[in-house]
Symmetry: C2
Amino acid sequence: MAERTESNQPASADRQPARGRPRDAGRDWALLEATVAVLQDSGYGGLTTAAVAKRAGVSTATLYRRWRSKEDLVVGTAVRWASDLGPQPDTGSLEGDLAVLLRDKAGTMEGPGGRLLHVLIGEAAHNEALARVLDTAIIQPVRDRAAAVVRRAVARGDIPPLKDAHVLADLVVGSMVSRLFLTPDAAHSGSTDGPSSGAAAIRELLPFLLRALGAQPG
Amino acid sequence: MAERTESNQPASADRQPARGRPRDAGRDWALLEATVAVLQDSGYGGLTTAAVAKRAGVSTATLYRRWRSKEDLVVGTAVRWASDLGPQPDTGSLEGDLAVLLRDKAGTMEGPGGRLLHVLIGEAAHNEALARVLDTAIIQPVRDRAAAVVRRAVARGDIPPLKDAHVLADLVVGSMVSRLFLTPDAAHSGSTDGPSSGAAAIRELLPFLLRALGAQPG
């Protein structure tokens, strides 16, 4: 897990403070997949560390050496995935930069990490500490990235300087949550054949976001 | 509960198919408040109909005469609130219509019904039937309303005809979810004193949404 080999893999150890012991990547991976599978079957309320350990083929002692509690396991795993926005490419155009940002976010949300995030959004309704972790893990990285995208576009003269540019992060994260978490099958988009819901959402969202930032869609 | 006396009250019986028995509004109201309170304490996984009935001061038999199950209770209650978008005013301007739409959605999400919605979004990650109910209850009414807002604006000549106008619903619902559910205190907005997070979000979002639709913010 020291390298990022596909878009849905957890952040590498050098980009994200390690939780638990990062030495045995295979076991970490098995625990992640088991966590997602148990959540899918039982929900957060029904998830037990014993069930996750059994599914991952490890002892509960092994699990507890990595994660102190159920909450620690689920939150820590989700944070590693959600924060994995990948490198920040400068594509040279606002449309290109926005497309990469949307694609990265859709990739996270459509993968196993997205399932965790989806569940944790609900848990955060009655767990303030978790709500703060999610803000840090989900929104803040997008806010930082979005700010850089806007800064470069303004510097190129593509768009006028923007008041409240951080709103872009809410539009990016929020519209993806709406499409990928709140709209089953995205059946309304008329594009259920072929590309994923995320790809269809990006194609439709991009012109709106470009206009919102004051640019003319190409 | 036959009339809507404040923005956070459930839909009136004539606008929303009744679930359970709508006759005793006081008891329905007590059950709603109890459901929210127990969810806040225990989460969805820990919520029992017995705990809700006790908190509401009714027997479990009374609860079961209204709601067949825990899921029925929580989902039915949330749907009644989420669908309560209020009347659809034609303010005569795109900005006015959008502001009303955002204000209604923020009102729902910041009230007790919003707490239910927040929890149910997480539950929907592993409950497909619930996911479909939420789509119907949260996204579809906004999609219908947003389509009417766009239609009127195009008819007035305020904006050009829009491809994929349904994206507006994702931007409205999603950005509100991002601000009110994913960003504790909306501390980043610099406006934690005075107006609610929802009011601050609307003020900031409105210019972006107007530009996204092809209008010039006033």
